[in-house]
Symmetry: C2
Subunit: 359 residues, 2 copies
Amino acid sequence: MAEENTSKVCEAHPMTGGDGPNSYAKNSNIQRDAIDAAKELVSKAIAENLQIEVLPSNTFRIADLGCSVGPNTFLAIENILEGVEFKYQRKGLNSQIPEFHVFFNDHTSNDFNMLFKTLPENRRYYSAGVPGSFYGRLFPDASIHLAHSSYALQWLSRVPKSVVDSNSPARNKGRIHYSNSTDDVIRAHETQSTEDMECFLQARAQEIVYGGLMVLTIPGRPDGTPHSDASPNVIFQLLGSSLMDLVRKGVVSEEKVDSFNILTYSTSAQELVAVVERNGYFSIEKMVGLPLPLVHDTILYAQLLTSHLRAGMEGDLKQQFGEEVLDELFDLYRKKCEENASSLDPGKAVNFLVVLRRN
Amino acid sequence: MAEENTSKVCEAHPMTGGDGPNSYAKNSNIQRDAIDAAKELVSKAIAENLQIEVLPSNTFRIADLGCSVGPNTFLAIENILEGVEFKYQRKGLNSQIPEFHVFFNDHTSNDFNMLFKTLPENRRYYSAGVPGSFYGRLFPDASIHLAHSSYALQWLSRVPKSVVDSNSPARNKGRIHYSNSTDDVIRAHETQSTEDMECFLQARAQEIVYGGLMVLTIPGRPDGTPHSDASPNVIFQLLGSSLMDLVRKGVVSEEKVDSFNILTYSTSAQELVAVVERNGYFSIEKMVGLPLPLVHDTILYAQLLTSHLRAGMEGDLKQQFGEEVLDELFDLYRKKCEENASSLDPGKAVNFLVVLRRN
């Protein structure tokens, strides 16, 4: 029943826990900007698309899928609550505003202890933490009224089989990301992304009530932009290139780079529409590109990207390459970001805000 | 709305986390024995007292209040599920057995990361962790069908005010437990226990559906047994006496012993009945004393009590007295248990199994 029942291995990528200088809690501004940009759109989407007739009079249940450790998840939940309450108020149903039960979901390896310790003190909802991959079932049938996910669905559930198999031509030699790899590797990741999105939609179709909403923010690439050029991908290509520099310096072994894969995928609007339509349980109420933050100062932008990436990836990198290489690695990385500022063009990236309704 | 809204400070006493040799996970046999002893009674109580008419056809929600880190909570949930399923089966409603959603509750300082990592793989329920004190609200109105709590309600929510105030005659000088203290201290703890139970029942009355059950296991004392003689209390008196030995040896400061309080209370059947009746929302369907484990080998029993107490108290003791005293302290303690075996008579303790129905 739970996510373990699916045959696939769900790979976890916990953000750096705690609240130290390299923690996700203190280095998630880019995700936070996405939430800020989405805020008004989310409230508006809720007001327009929540059908008051199908709403509960007792408990309204919200899930944040891939919540990490906060504070972003708490801001997102606050936005959603405001949107839902506004909807009730606008219909003159002030006295019928339900209680809210919020489910914070992430992988079992997420730092739930930290999440729980930092729950806002004056929250007006009941809270629960839900461990497990959102590519499998997490909740009982028809129990969720609104599911939210921000900056999480770009993570694949697993390394595609053909990439793991070292005899395959698709092996990701000298690279850590699919996007600058061979056509075979790119195809394997496209297939994995499609499979994952199908699992995600299938699970949510069972869990979300009729008329309930999904509000998803997903970083991706504009239609027509090749995987190799999309800036969310270039970010990881530059990390791979920094690691290969360390291989050449003898600091890191090449085998370790070969066997390391960053499992994100940059989807496109076309691909998203196709998988939602094939699933058939949800209508697309809204799909827009959120404005991306423009940072004109190259040095500042490189620094921002570096601290952001370190907060997100430090755990995985430490495990694979050892803690002692991290400072040198991220110093190299920051310089590469400065040198390649033009490849990180916001025009080659898009943050999708997608609102789906369960039909 | 959440537990923070109550004016009282809720003191947390997390069990020793992780799975090391002194962990709660590996040293909770006494609690486990209580669950084993309760198992048949719990199934029977569910079969007799769950009114099938008020049960949901979709999701059956279970809360384990004060769950700690497992494995006991998982065994308890398994027992409960069997009892509920048996009830549906006996009524010929096999096809209507609902999905189960289980909420694992404990203080925010509980090791939820550990709890989540050790969730049974083949569980047939959806899981969520709920941080917060059960002396306040944890769940939306009328959302829980069965609440369970085992070996948790003996913990008070706070040091009674009159005991904290050092000018009060009720100050707990040279002791760490109310039970061998002055009459004032004992009265202050009685009052606190009553207040806490009132808060607990009031919160659960709002959260549990009409006809829903509470199944509680609470260690206490037989009616008429003075607090000072009840063996669950003697266990802590001996710890206090061990600490005072360390004071005399100059290893521990007397002030630290004076300001340390173990916040358990041993209730009686009379007190339990009185507080439930005064609350008025629940009927007492069953209240029995579970058989207590008899260990005839004094040395073995002393060892068992020592490892049990260490798993439960190590965190608090370390914080107050420093890690370096723990080995010496528990060595002393073990010897005192051997010498005082007659004071630890199971006849001077009782484990209440209480089944309440929400009316």
